[in-house]
């Protein structure tokens, strides 16, 4: 009897709770379906179509896939550059960020000044930072080469040399290390002092303390920095594009069609190639295939990220 009267009330409460949840989530539910679900499905659809954005799309089967993966001349360089950046840039950024983070925790005098100085470049808008670096490193009159020349060093051509363009981008990314510095600094300050004292009593030197106390404590943060770094670098677009365009010296507005990747495709990344195919060549099908390749790689990394519990998804969720 009692059960009978309570069951509908309970069900009503459950129903109300469900409605409440849906209500609160609704902005995201709409956004996710309209601005993510739909375009993803449409990308898959267009990857099987010939579509130049004027005529009606026509089904061509796997032709776009075959073209991108086996024939398109720029696919190889773009993939290589993106992977190169993912490996070199992320590794150097993590090591450098950790170094600067350690340094900041050791500074006794003027800590506030140094911290701000190290952090500020991270705030510079990417386009502005890139324009600044293209100027600083320009082989003709750039201050860096003026100084290197004055002390007798044979300076490279940086953004104008295919072998130096990517390292120059890495240098630019190291300048903006502020985000990693703050994360590592917070992690380093969280390591309990007693552990260092205990290690000292056991006769550990500076390296021993780092290896057996600091490193185990900050491994999750290092892991987090690596994985988010990989994800960010796979999207690497603005700096490479702007650096290539400016260094090429072509003095026409940004609406102008120039092939990205100057010099010699050395700064062409996968996202740039997607843009170039879709918005310069109007080869929608090929652009969508490349988007999906990027999607698969990004998903693989994301899955790894959640597996390894790099601090993103709490275990109890």
């Amino acid at each position: 009897m009692a059960l009978n009267t309570r069951a509908p009330a309970l069900r009503r409460k459950k129903m109300r709770e469900k409605l409440r949840t849906v209500g609160f989530l609704s902005p995201w539910l709409v956004g996710f379906s309209v601005f993510f679900g739909y375009p993803l499905l449409a990308t898959i659809y267009f990857s099987f179509m010939h579509y130049n954005q004027i005529e009606q799309p026509a089904f061509v089967g796997l032709k776009n896939w075959k073209y991108v993966l086996t024939q398109m001349p720029l696919f190889g360089p773009a993939l290589w550059n993106t992977l190169w950046l993912v490996v070199v840039m992320v590794a150097l950024r993590v090591v450098f960020g950790l170094g600067i983070g350690l340094l900041v925790t050791k500074i006794k005098s003027g800590a506030g000044f140094f911290r701000t100085a190290f952090y500020l470049p991270y705030l510079a808008p990417p386009v502005a930072a890139t324009v600044a670096f293209v100027f600083l490193l320009n082989p003709g009159t750039g201050p860096v080469n003026e100084i290197l020349g004055a002390v007798g060093i044979d300076a490279p051509s940086w953004f104008n040399d295919p072998n130096w363009a990517k390292p120059s981008l890495v240098l630019l990314s190291l300048w903006g290390i502020g985000d990693l510095m703050v994360i590592f600094m917070a992690a380093l300050l969280d390591v309990p002092r007693e552990q260092y004292e205990a290690a000292e009593l056991d006769g550990a030197g500076a390296w021993g303390k780092f290896r057996y106390v600091t490193w185990p404590a900050i491994t999750p943060i290092v892991m987090f920095a690596v994985v988010t770094g990989v994800v960010q670098t796979m999207q690497y677009y603005t700096q490479a594009l702007v650096a290539g365009k400016l260094a090429s010296g072509i003095t026409i507005g940004p609406g102008t069609v120039i092939q990205p990747g100057y010099p010699d495709h050395s700064t062409l990344t996968v996202p740039q190639l997607v843009y170039s195919l879709g918005f310069q060549n109007f080869n929608t099908g090929a652009a969508c295939v490349l988007s999906l390749v990027l999607f698969v790689i990004a998903m693989a990394v994301t899955t790894l990220l959640m597996r390894k519990r790099a601090g993103l998804l709490p275990a109890e969720d």
Partner: protein, 302 residues
């Protein structure tokens, strides 16, 4: 540079050995050497971070001729370069557009992220974990993956290309990164506050607005700042949607054409570059605490 920074803190500790003087003196000398080593490295690092700003500034006040000469110090200080930049056709429009994009984008993002983050942090429901995984996946995806169909919809169906609206409107429907960050922050609010508000007869909306939002101010400030910076810095978005209409360009997008329009006038380009950096750096100084909190929040484990 990296290796020296890594070894520097430890290296001097060993140089104090082999001294015949008393242990107290030795300890003090070790500390002094340590101090010198750390601060030498710090000054070197500071030069690496600060000198680019200095060179950009010095070039920005040079005369046209000197800016092309490779000299480092301005012979005459041409402050008028900054006025010239401001009088460049379009420059003020770019400012206005940047402010509109960043302002409205931030407002929309915060309003839509708060209820979603709250539900994901505090409601228990089936599919919560799945929803979190979807949020994180969207956050991780390169924007290029979905840009082509999105562009076709905005351009061909809604005829809104040539403006910034295709970038602003979606922000009213929850930005994954902001939702994620804010949710991490909301997890730290004790459940008891929410329970007691309910006991006092508050509905969910009232609880959110009266109890949760005031307590989550630092978290909300952090996502607002991040979103403002994101919009201000965005290059890809304006390139896709506003490229064909210079009247809709933002500062970040227009800067590149600035260099082109002024050919090789590095001085004016550097002045414009600094003018674009300044608002962001000002915002940072006014909101430093919220910002650093936000950056650490990304690394916080739940």
């Amino acid at each position: 540079m990296t290796t020296t920074t890594l070894s520097a803190p430890g290296a001097p500790a060993r140089t104090g050995g082999g001294d015949a003087s008393g242990p107290a003196l030795r300890a003090r000398r070790t500390r002094l050497l340590h101090w010198i080593a750390v601060h030498t490295v710090a000054v070197a690092a500071a030069l690496f971070f600060v000198l680019p700003f200095a060179f950009v500034f010095l070039t920005s006040v040079m005369s046209d001729g000197q800016a092309m000469s490779g000299e480092l110090w301005p012979t005459e200080w041409h402050w008028s370069n900054y006025a010239t930049v401001f009088h460049t056709p379009g420059f003020l429009d770019w400012w206005k557009n940047s402010l509109m994009y960043a302002g409205l984008g931030t407002l929309f993002t915060v309003c839509s992220a708060v209820p979603v983050a709250y539900a994901l942090a505090k409601f228990r429901f089936r599919g919560r974990r799945a929803a979190m995984i979807l949020v994180i996946s969207t956050m991780m995806l390169p924007p290029q993956v979905i840009v082509i169909p999105m562009y076709l919809v905005w351009a061909q169906q809604l005829h809104l290309s040539g403006s910034l609206w295709p970038l602003i409107i979606p922000m009213a429907f929850g930005d994954a990164y902001s939702i994620f960050l804010l949710r991490q922050f909301l997890l730290t609010i004790p459940q008891e506050y929410i329970e007691s508000a309910k006991v006092d007869g508050c509905g969910e909306v009232r609880t959110l607005l009266k109890i949760v939002v005031p307590m989550a101010k630092p978290g909300i400030a952090a996502i607002a700042l991040f979103q403002f910076f994101y919009c201000w810095n965005d290059y890809f978005g304006p390139q896709i949607y506003a490229a064909q209409n210079p009247g809709a360009w933002t500062l970040s997008y227009g800067l590149e054409s600035f260099k082109s329009a002024h050919n090789v006038d590095w001085n004016l380009t550097m002045a414009a570059t600094l003018l674009i950096m300044v608002p962001v750096i000002l915002v940072f100084f006014f909101a430093q605490k919220a910002f650093v909190e936000g950056v650490t929040l990304t690394g916080v484990k739940g």
